[in-house]
């Protein structure tokens, strides 16, 4: 285990902005793609 607590985990040794900026944007975009794909699938299946 690397972290003493939540604040230490969020701080990422002073690199919190860079680490969470990377993970946050990446997973937000991947999640957005999944949502868009689910919507598109529902629309197409509703039409047929």
């Amino acid at each position: 285990m690397n972290w003493g607590g939540w604040s230490e985990f969020l701080a990422m040794g002073g690199y919190g902005f860079y680490v969470w900026g990377s993970y946050g944007v990446s997973f937000a975009l991947l999640g957005l793609e999944v949502i868009l794909l689910m919507k598109r699938t529902q629309q197409r299946e509703a039409k047929t």
């Binding site: 690199y15 990446s26 793609e33 197409r44």
Partner: protein, 234 residues
């Protein structure tokens, strides 16, 4: 039914449709589980890097995303080439289905690279051979998508897109070998097939788990999208 006939049977969009749905569901689940495992190893098992501190943890998305961006381009161009050579309908649809996911991973590789470059190199962006050729890859994906969107007839759009995709393949080895061919700021490969990886084994485990997760994610996303394209076109 022999194996050869079955292969051709699945090349027809109608018969491929239910199979793609089943594979996609399995891959969505697998991607979620592997990503959970990869993130756990990446944040709680892998130790702090001696030189870069915690900033190095960006590696667990950056490197797998960069691998996927190049690999997906090769897969997309292969489907495009098969479509051009054999004139099969499904091939062009597969190429179109892969492009947005490939573009997304290229963007993620560039984005996480910028956020990693700032604390380690002191700059979000430099016009370095590795970074520039990866940016060209993003433009190739976007160009492919824009070209296909601009042509109304899907079969003609497939052929035009295929030409662009095939010509663009030349960029992939340029990205891969850029760190050897030019004197770049970007470091060389940390993992190769011919020698031992230059990192702690837990770091490597986390990275490989994330790479597998992205791999399954890409398969699931491409197959889900190709199902929509089949419904739209047929």
């Amino acid at each position: 039914m022999s194996a050869t006939i079955k292969w051709y049977w699945f090349a027809s969009p109608q018969s491929f449709f239910p199979l793609a749905g089943t594979i996609a569901r399995v891959c969505w689940l697998g991607a979620a589980l592997l990503a959970a495992g990869g993130l756990y190893v990446g944040f709680f098992v892998a130790p702090t890097d001696a030189q870069q501190g915690e900033a190095y943890r960006i590696i667990f998305i950056h490197v797998p995303a960069a691998w996927m961006s190049m690999f997906l381009y090769l897969v997309m161009a292969s489907w495009a080439a098969i479509g051009l050579a054999l004139n099969t309908r499904l091939s062009g649809m597969m190429a179109s289905a892969i492009a947005p996911t490939g573009a997304l991973f290229t963007f993620i590789a560039l984005w996480t690279g910028a956020l990693w470059g700032r604390p380690t190199w002191g700059a979000y962006w430099v016009w370095d051979a590795r970074l520039t050729s990866e940016l060209v890859l993003l433009f190739l994906y976007l160009g492919f998508m824009a070209l296909q969107a601009a042509i109304d007839d899907p079969r003609r759009a497939d052929r035009a897109g295929a030409l662009l995709a095939i010509v663009g393949v030349v960029n992939v080895p340029i990205i891969y070998y850029s760190v050897q061919w030019w004197n770049t700021l970007h470091q060389g490969a940390s993992v190769s097939l011919t020698r031992a990886p230059s990192m702690a084994s837990t770091m490597l485990t986390g990275m490989l788990l994330m790479a597998l997760a992205f791999w399954l994610y890409s398969i699931a996303a491409a197959l889900t999208r190709v199902r929509c394209i089949i419904l739209e076109r047929e």
